[in-house]
């Protein structure tokens, strides 16, 4: 600043004093501007880093494994719906509800797993209709069982999950399920009779009772070779669990 003024001049001229004031103002303004920019940078980088760390921590906590619950389930028998060989080394039991959105989302993962593991993996479907919150859960389970009487359980199973959003909100989806049966080439009269048969209803009640006795917290609930597993979010995660169980 001093170099703006001649050192040997004891008295400043009016012009020099103006110049000095202007230079001081400019310098002060620049310093304030620099400080403000630095503070803003600190604030926003702190926010971004803080939120990033928080997000990472929450995701890590939410994905950390919880100890598997000890539950007793009925053995897999020929009466179960098994996609695969009953003697397969990997037996994955799924307690599920056709009206549960989370269960529907797992279907593509399960299909991929079956395609990858082939005869090594058997998937067992058991009913756990959450009747208190899904008013069509029981009827949809009955529809799958009724299709099963004519050998089309898995075809109806796939259709019910694929079109879940079409029938979930219907007050009574019976007609829709009959249409699905037609689409699958089932005998309509038998399907309608089986849909409300005591045998079908009893089977679902039995599955439901087993799920409740085992204290399953909800759907989908998975058991691999009798051990409860927390289903991972991704196909890769699920495949890794199966590979470990298969000793690979």
């Amino acid at each position: 600043m001093t170099d703006l003024l001649p050192n040997d001049s004891p008295v400043l001229t009016k012009k020099q004093r103006q110049m000095l004031r202007r230079a001081e103002k400019l310098s002060a303004r620049t310093a304030v501007a620099q400080r403000t920019t630095r503070q803003r940078w600190l604030l926003w980088s702190g926010v971004v880093i803080g939120l990033g760390l928080l997000t990472w921590l929450v995701i890590w906590v939410a994905n950390s494994p919880t100890p598997a619950a000890v539950v007793t389930l009925p053995q897999v028998t020929a009466n179960d719906w098994i996609d695969g060989n009953q003697d397969a080394p990997l037996m994955l039991i799924e307690y599920s509800d056709f009206q549960c959105p989370a269960c529907a989302r797992f279907q593509s993962t399960l299909k991929q797993l079956k395609a990858t593991f082939g005869e090594q993996l058997a998937i067992v479907y058991r009913h756990f209709p959450l009747v208190e919150i899904h008013h069509n859960a029981r009827l949809s389970a009955q529809a799958a069982e009724a299709a099963g009487v004519q050998g089309k359980f898995w075809a109806m199973h796939d259709l019910l999950f694929e079109r879940q959003s079409d029938w979930s909100a219907l007050p009574n989806p019976t007609d829709t399920f009959v249409k699905y049966a037609q689409e699958l080439g089932l005998d309509q009269t038998s399907f309608t009779a089986d849909l409300n048969s005591t045998v079908v209803k009893e089977k679902i009640n039995q599955h439901l009772a087993n799920a409740l006795t085992a204290g399953l917290p909800g759907t989908p609930a998975f058991f691999l070779n009798g051990q409860a597993i927390q289903p991972p979010a991704t196909y890769d995660g699920f495949a890794a669990i199966l590979n470990t169980a298969a000793g690979k």
Binding site: W44, V47, T66, F106, L130, G218
Partner: protein
């Protein structure tokens, strides 16, 4: 950017109020982010205080199309947090007015979720209730701020 209210006529929001907004929206953000991750993973959530989390989270009400409801909570709390930081940074009234207004809207959304749990599902999820508490506290702050501004206008 024009302010909703002329900032020159309004006093700055107190540090205490801003800190409260940060704390409540931070808790809400963590809570709803946790639920979102759990929802996307399809895992069963552990309820340590009350039973019913799984019932609520497995219900069709927990999703809006392909998006979990909790994700909307994440966006809401994140929006509140970022807007509050923007207000601290710029002192523009627009940001804090948006926070106060969003907090009130969020409260009414929470009321609807309480109704769903109490009447429709008849099951309670502790994580959802925590979000109800944080959004209610934010709404109280929002209402107080608006009352203060309207009185001074």
């Amino acid at each position: 950017m024009t302010d909703l209210l002329p900032s020159s006529t309004l006093p700055l929001v107190s540090k205490f109020t801003l800190a409260s907004i940060f704390i409540f929206s931070g808790i809400g953000f963590i809570d709803s982010l946790y639920l979102t991750v759990v929802e996307y993973s399809g895992r069963q959530i552990t309820c340590s205080l009350i039973a019913g989390c799984q019932t609520v989270l497995a219900s069709s009400y927990a999703w809006v199309g392909p998006v979990p409801l909790a994700m909307l909570g994440v966006l809401f709390y994140l929006g509140v947090l970022i807007s509050t930081v923007a207000y601290v940074d710029t002192k523009r009234q627009l940001f804090i007015s948006a926070v106060a207004s969003a907090a009130i809207v969020g409260f009414f959304a929470s009321l609807y979720f309480v109704y769903l749990q109490a009447v429709v599902l008849q099951a309670w999820c502790q994580y959802c209730l925590l979000s109800v508490i944080t959004s209610t506290l934010l709404a109280i702050i929002g209402v107080r701020l608006w009352r203060q501004w309207l009185r001074q206008e």
